[in-house]
């Protein structure tokens, strides 16, 4: 039977959203080409997860080993190479996440499987696999095809598919696979611990109004311009990643996949292009307003209102106008 294999992702006792997103995307493909959907779950004490995943797949393969309580790419690679080698799925789906980026390229290489990464769409047409991915930080989409192979691998961008629970639940069978791991598999790479970022005084994820500044601000000395604007609208100041990378604002102000998720009533992005890693952090926002001098900036694909202009010209005027209105 033709099979699509999804790698379940979990961390710190929780299945991650990407798992359900991939399972939903995979199910559509399986329906289209008549394939079975299988999910692989690797970890320790994860039987509860297996039960949850059984609603979403035909089969849940579960490999438990105390040594993979936390993700380890070397150990995962050994287990998955064995599973893929034996089952020969047509397609393997892994998240384009901190786990997937550390695993998929070496796994695919070791098995000589064609891989493309960070996909936002997948389709089989006339038995041929097509993947859509974005390049140039979201300005252009690329359609990718593959050399004929028994198995293909893709990594999937977070948020590319909306998770939906199958109705009725699929009631998949749970198959326990003995762990093939030995201590040797941990000889060159070891997980040590998690470290959490330090918490500051301001919690941007709880704010009703967030004004975010991006690389368009050009220099640290210009940040007060946006900070004052944020104050005028009664919001907190947040930012995109480059602002934190440069040390201009602390890490707890970063919005996005590797920073904070915000859900304000109003989100104003100033000089931010709208890379998906940033957009992932503002999905739950009410009204989104973007100020950017490039009308083609991807941020305008998610914004409700757009201002196409030089931020240095408009922000001071916007600030004064709002202060004037508030003064009345």
């Amino acid at each position: 039977m033709v099979e699509v294999l999804v790698l379940a992702e979990h961390r710190k006792g929780e299945l991650r959203d990407i798992t359900f997103e991939m399972l939903t995307g995979a199910r559509k493909i399986c329906d289209k080409i008549g394939a079975d959907l299988t999910v692989a779950l690797l970890g320790f004490n994860v039987k509860e997860f297996a039960k949850e995943l059984a609603d979403y797949a035909k089969q849940v393969l579960i490999v438990e080993d105390e040594r993979i309580k936390e993700f380890n790419s070397e150990a995962y690679q050994k287990i998955l190479a064995k599973i893929i080698g034996e089952r020969k799925p047509l397609l393997v789906m892994i998240g384009h996440t901190a786990i997937g980026m550390d695993l998929a390229p070496s796994l695919a290489t070791s098995l000589n499987i064609p891989l493309t990464t960070d996909c936002i769409g997948l389709d089989f047409k006339d038995g041929k696999l097509y993947a859509i991915r974005q390049i140039y930080s979201g300005k252009v989409n690329a359609e990718i095809t593959f050399k004929d192979a028994e198995t293909y691998m893709v990594t999937i961008r977070s948020g590319a598919f909306q998770p939906e629970k199958p109705e009725p639940p699929m009631g998949g069978g749970i198959i326990n696979i003995p762990s093939p791991l030995t201590d040797e598999d941990f000889a060159v790479k070891k997980f040590v611990e998690y470290v959490e970022e330090a918490k500051g005084e301001i919690d941007i994820s709880a704010a009703d109004i967030v004004v975010s500044v991006g690389r368009g601000i050009k220099d640290a000395k210009n940040i007060p311009l946006v900070e004052e604007f944020a104050k005028a609208v009664g919001g907190v100041l947040a930012c995109s990643r480059p602002i934190v990378d440069k040390g201009w604002l602390p890490k707890d102000r970063q919005v996005g996949i590797s920073g904070k998720t915000v859900k304000p009533k109003l989100y104003i992005a100033v000089g931010i292009s709208g890379a998906f890693q940033h957009l992932a952090g503002i999905k739950g926002s009410g009204v989104i307003i973007a100020v950017n001098k490039d009308p083609k900036a991807p941020i305008f694909r998610v914004a409700d209102y757009g201002i196409v202009d030089d931020l240095f010209k408009v922000i001071p005027v916007l600030k004064d106008k709002i202060l004037e209105l508030k003064g009345k």
């Binding site: 070791s110 252009v140 359609e143 904070k260």
Partner: protein, 283 residues
């Protein structure tokens, strides 16, 4: 620390043999900056028009070369930068030499065009497998194609371990302790045995600027160029022919949500925005 007379890279510390002096290879890519540019697709439909775009070292690689230079300053050793690309890529190599890299290598043949992430890694591998190194640094991702694939693929080809999304590096006793960036502000500390490949994430350090003296020094340095034959590769193994994936066509993403642009001079825009905010009850 007691340093004995061993070979140049190895010495004995507390009775344990350790590698301390570091030979580091950094993979760098020369990429167009499209953040503020209008991107258009060229007539082939498979590439963007590159004329007029500013090119520079890939943002992630700029952090990788800095990390290599910091490690060299701390441990001693040598930093070699390597790239796969045409002559324009020399500009990025020269920039790295000006910052303090010791040697630069460019791998190029016309037939490399169309290489995907896997094949780019294979070309790098064919040169690096003959080189001496303790550590290889790559960027976590290239800002143009965004595969986030080449570094980890290269590690597998070389048969050495890797870590991706690296935000902190500490070399000790033949191992490297790294912080890997996970989602939501969480990091993971992991230990990886040397030699290894680390794919570096932005923000790990503060990349230095190039000095005038550095630029002068770099101008005199030779850039070694290796072609297909010198790398022991054949045309069938590289470029589109050798790549497991193929970029079929490019297209500009559809707009699914319609943005309302507020137009006019700044004061008109300000009034319109104020109305919107009032209407939505957020002010």
């Amino acid at each position: 620390m007691q340093s004995l007379h061993e070979t140049e890279n190895v010495f004995i510390k507390n009775g344990v043999m350790v590698v301390e002096k570091m030979d580091i290879i950094v993979c760098v890519k020369h990429v167009p900056d499209t953040a503020e540019a209008e991107v258009t697709i060229d007539p082939s439909g498979r590439d963007i028009k590159k004329e007029g775009l500013p090119f520079d070292i890939n943002e992630w690689d700029n952090y990788a070369i800095e990390e290599a230079l910091l490690l060299k300053e701390k441990h001693g050793g040598k930093v070699t930068v390597i790239t796969v690309g045409p002559e324009e890529y020399n500009e990025t190599l020269r920039k790295c030499l000006a910052k303090g890299a010791d040697e630069a290598i460019r791998l190029y043949d016309e037939s490399f065009k169309g290489s995907d992430g896997y094949t780019t890694a294979k070309i790098l591998y064919s040169a690096i497998k003959n080189m001496k190194f303790d550590l290889i640094l790559t960027g976590a991702m290239a800002g143009d194609d965004g595969y986030a694939q080449v570094g980890v693929t290269l590690a597998e080809m070389l048969g050495i371990p890797h870590a991706s999304l690296v935000k902190k590096v500490e070399v000790k006793d033949g191992w490297v302790k790294v912080n890997r960036e996970l989602e939501g502000g969480l990091e993971e500390v992991a230990e990886v045995k040397l030699p290894a490949v680390l794919a570096i994430q932005t923000g790990i350090n503060e990349p230095r600027y190039v000095s005038i003296a550095g630029i002068r020094r770099a101008a005199k340095k030779e850039i070694k160029v290796l072609g297909l034959a010198e790398l022991g590769l054949s045309k069938e193994e590289v470029g589109e022919l050798g790549s497991p994936t193929r970029l079929e066509r490019l297209f500009i993403p559809e707009v699914t949500k319609k943005v309302e642009f507020l137009t006019g001079d700044p004061s008109e825009v300000a009034s319109k925005l104020a109305n919107v905010l009032k209407e939505k009850g957020v002010l």
